[in-house]
């Protein structure tokens, strides 16, 4: 299990987390899947629709937003590979809430943003029994294969 990502795309994910700080920033990762290899080629940042103060540390993307994103992925010839989000002033490990709401087969890339600065990302996938997340390697590749 490995998630390949271009440095420029990872940089955009980090800037988005920093821009959203102290709130949580989130979006979808689009790309290509081949066997157990995944390549992130594009990201879609999405509005955070959770309305109350919980927005500070939670995000929610509505089904309507998801549908639009899947249509956009289709038009680019890409798949929705997973979700990225930031944890403001928290480690880049999935929370209990992340696990309860997780979709199987999605990569969950979490960026820790401490005091407004991105401090690295880790990527996780839900296990088949929904009990845990296991980490997948992030490989920063200079060039995606065409």
């Amino acid at each position: 299990m490995r998630l390949q990502i271009l440095p420029a795309v990872l940089e955009r994910i980090h800037s988005q987390g920093e821009a959203a700080y102290p709130e949580e920033g989130a979006g979808l990762m689009l790309g290509e899947i081949s066997q157990d290899q995944r390549q992130v080629m594009e990201i879609l940042t999405l509005p955070n629709v959770r309305e109350d103060t919980a927005r500070h540390n939670r995000y929610l993307l509505s089904p309507e937003d998801y549908l639009k994103s899947e249509a956009e992925a289709d038009s680019l010839g890409l798949d929705v590979l997973g979700v990225f989000h930031s944890h403001p002033d928290h480690p880049n490990q999935p929370s209990e809430f992340d696990r309860q709401w997780a979709w199987p087969n999605f990569s969950y890339l979490i960026t820790s943003v401490m005091m407004g600065k991105a401090h690295g990302s880790r990527s996780w996938r839900l296990t088949e029994d929904r009990a845990n997340f296991i980490e997948e390697e992030i490989e920063i590749v200079e060039q995606t294969k065409d």
């Binding site: 103060t53 929610l60 998801y66 992340d98 087969n105 969950y108």
Partner: protein, 247 residues
Amino acid sequence: MTTLKIPSPLRTYTDGQASVQVQGETVADALESLVEQHPDLRQHLFNGQGELRPFVNLYLNSEDIRHLQKLATPIQDEDRLMIVPSIAGGSSLVDHSAIRTNQALIISLSVIAFILNLPWLVLLVALVMAVGTALKLPGFGFVYRWLLKPLKLIRPDLLEDNPEPHRFAQGFGAVVLAIGAITLFAGASIVGWGLVWLVILLAALNLLVGFCVGCAVYYWLGRLEVPGFVQPPPEDTLPGMRPKAKA
């Protein structure tokens, strides 16, 4: 046969197919037909009680079935049914030390009010709780934030929890105390002090046992799909009980 569209994260369970033909007369039948064909999908669509998970949405011809007849919505052969994900996550931490400080002060001030027969003190406690609810904080939490925490007398107890049910519980307590105070001013002291003691006992149950009756009511209203009560209880915890998951 009705066409059911499958979102990309679930397509590994449908042999990569983006849509599956299902049969039945309602949305519930269609889902049953789907999991009969692809049994591995069940645990991702339904929880242990057989209820649809909160992040699974169903759209019938681009209309959310929650706005139709929910799972009982009838379907026709030519209909298009879609499973659409809600995507959510993040960390939500509630500092239970602030909540317990709040309860301890509510209990002690109300007991003092009872012993010294001070209805105005009951009203004051109700006001602090009401202001806290409006500010989305534990009313007496400032004692913890400005005094007990800086002096390191009480350590933070950050638990993964929903803040909304605790606010609801406090707001409910404020209303009962306020009615109690007004009843006392009106001279009905047995009823008035009875209401005050109700709040004292419920706060003590929460402080000493960790069971929040107001939170349980919140989750119960959520199960009845009352608008605004949207947070599902933390998993593996009796609704209303203090969650175990540490940050």
